[in-house]
């Protein structure tokens, strides 16, 4: 197991956005979290990645080869350092930094050089910086963005921006990749490429993947297990084919635009 969440609860004033949710992810799995708009999916992500401090419950996570540790309430940068990396529902790149620099920043939590190293540029710091560039380029190559390396992130086409977010997350050396609606706004061609990319990352990078998605066909096609949330509560979980037939799930999605 790489992620083990128990009875996670998050209140905003009187609103309970996440209500006693249990969820786990095994090493190498692709797991999806779905549910209508406002169900609490992003809030769940934000709790796991430390952007919000959960009101209650427990969150454990750890590399497949190591013990699981509690990460509940840790600050976001420490959770990233622990090995969980995320992307955002609304793309959050560093718009004026180059594509290469965006990925280089992702490497930051694995670097050790300090202020004195920056000022004196000693051999160790220089070597580290060179290595950062190399590592970042290799990641860009894997994601298929290396031709854009010198371009400002904001000048990338939409689909490429989403992929750059994944590249940047990969640079932090995660064991669990959390993707918040990675296909949102993509055209069918870009979505197909994304599905292929996610599969390839899981197979080649020794990763587990946890995604929130609205696009039903993508979810059914890609994920091995699905959790369904509605009004902060977990209402179903299981294999895609079972969840799809679950009357509770169908009912939850009725009020919504099901074309999603």
């Amino acid at each position: 197991m790489v992620l083990d969440v128990q009875k996670l609860t998050m209140d905003f004033g009187g609103l309970r956005a996440v209500d006693h949710v249990d969820l786990h992810i095994k090493h190498g799995e692709i797991v999806a979290l779905i549910g209508p708009n406002g169900a609490g999916k992003t809030t769940f992500f934000n709790c796991v990645t430390g952007m919000y401090k959960p009101t209650g419950g427990e969150i454990g996570a750890g590399r497949p080869e190591a013990e699981i540790q509690s990460i509940k309430g840790l600050r976001p940068h420490l959770i990233t350092k622990h090995g969980l990396a995320r992307t955002f529902q609304n793309i959050r790149l560093f718009p004026e930094m180059t594509v290469l620099e965006n990925v280089m920043l992702g490497r930051d939590c694995r670097l050790t050089s300090g202020i004195l190293g920056a000022i004196f540029r000693n051999p160790r710091t220089r070597a580290e910086e060179e290595q950062v560039v190399k590592d970042s380029l290799v990641i860009l190559h894997k994601i298929g963005l290396e031709n854009w390396a010198n371009e400002a992130a904001m000048n990338l086409p939409y689909g490429a921006q989403r992929r750059l977010e994944i590249a940047r997350a990969l640079a932090t050396e995660p064991f669990l990749l959390l993707l918040d609606e990675p296909a949102a706004g993509m055209n069918p061609h870009e979505t197909r490429q994304l599905v292929e990319l996610i599969r390839r990352l899981r197979d080649e990078e020794n990763l587990s993947i946890f995604l929130i998605e609205h696009d039903m066909s993508l979810v059914m096609n890609l994920s091995e297990r699905i959790y369904v949330m509605d009004y902060g509560k977990l209402i179903a979980s299981g294999k895609p084919e079972d969840v799809k037939k679950d009357p509770v799930v169908i009912k939850a999605y009725l009020g919504e635009d099901v074309s999603a």
Binding site: M97, L100, I115, A118, K134, L137
Partner: protein, 383 residues
Amino acid sequence: MTQRLNELRRSLLVSLWFMLLTFPIMVIRVNTITGTVRWRWTNLAVIGIGSFFISVVWRYAMQRKAGEAQAVGILSRVGERVGAGTKKIGAVLDIPKVRTRLVGGLLAAAVAYPFLNSMYHTNIMITALTYVVLGLGLNIIIGLGGMLHIGYAAFYAIGAYSYALLNMYFGINFWLALPIGAALAGLFSLLIGLPQLFGIDMRLQQTTVFVYFIMLAVVILTIFVVHRLENSRIGRQWVAMKEDYIACQAMGVSIAKAKLTALGIGAIWGGLVGVIFAARTTFINPASFTVWESVIILSTVVLGGMGSIPGVFVGALVLMLLPEYLRPFAQYRMLIFGALLVTMMVFRPSGFIKKRRKAYTITEAERQSVIKAELEDDGEVEE
């Protein structure tokens, strides 16, 4: 039309608020000797009308600016990138040849300066250079670190006092325990005290030239350090932090640490210059480090161009040298400062010289070699 009226109403409210705020200082005048109170109502009227008009002009300028930005929109962004090579002052500095020549020329002029000019001018220049360093120091905090800091003179003061106290009770250096600037303070106080230490009898003229060169060296050192920091891991953190701090911390950067680093490094320069200032004037008191000092330093950064080294340089020189050479206007300095700052913020918010970040880019050859090495690596694993 209704919008115009709305704007006027807002301006009216602003002026009322100002009248209320300044009422105790500007209207009531207590004469403690005769025990009488004078009500200066004309002052109230002047403030009311004055703030109303300034507010109207300000709002009009802001609106015009917002309108422009909307009209040009995305196009301006593209244009900026394309036209950057020819138009912007900052861009000209990016051309290596221009840069080398300019820096060489400036350096030669700087070295020759004290020999070509009288002590009076050298002294003025020392003060100006002091503010260049202070500006660059504060620039680390606000321009690079993205924090607003209005008490910068405090660091300056700490440096100055640590020197003063070290000097008075040589050996009892508890001020060294002060977190900021004090270690460097000790070092530089020694440097400044060098002539006395070896009993070299310098005449005033020589001392001035000596201090001038120390100041010049500090300026160069500051520029060097800031430049190195900008192009390092921490510089990258600062840029990312300002562009999107939520994404930045989600990518594993400790925002608190990055900000504290900017604050700490910025403060060291304040302390450093404080020491030199104290050594130079041989007399300091709390009045030497008022909010006014902070305001001037902040102005140099804002006017010159936040984050831009040449910008801060120009800003400090302009702000420090102009008043010295335009003595007749000295009493209006505050007014001119204020007007200048407001005008700049409205029409040229990025300062005299806009910061141009040197983005990290790679050449095609570098890219090819890395990718090739990577592919070979993969091949080995598969075989």
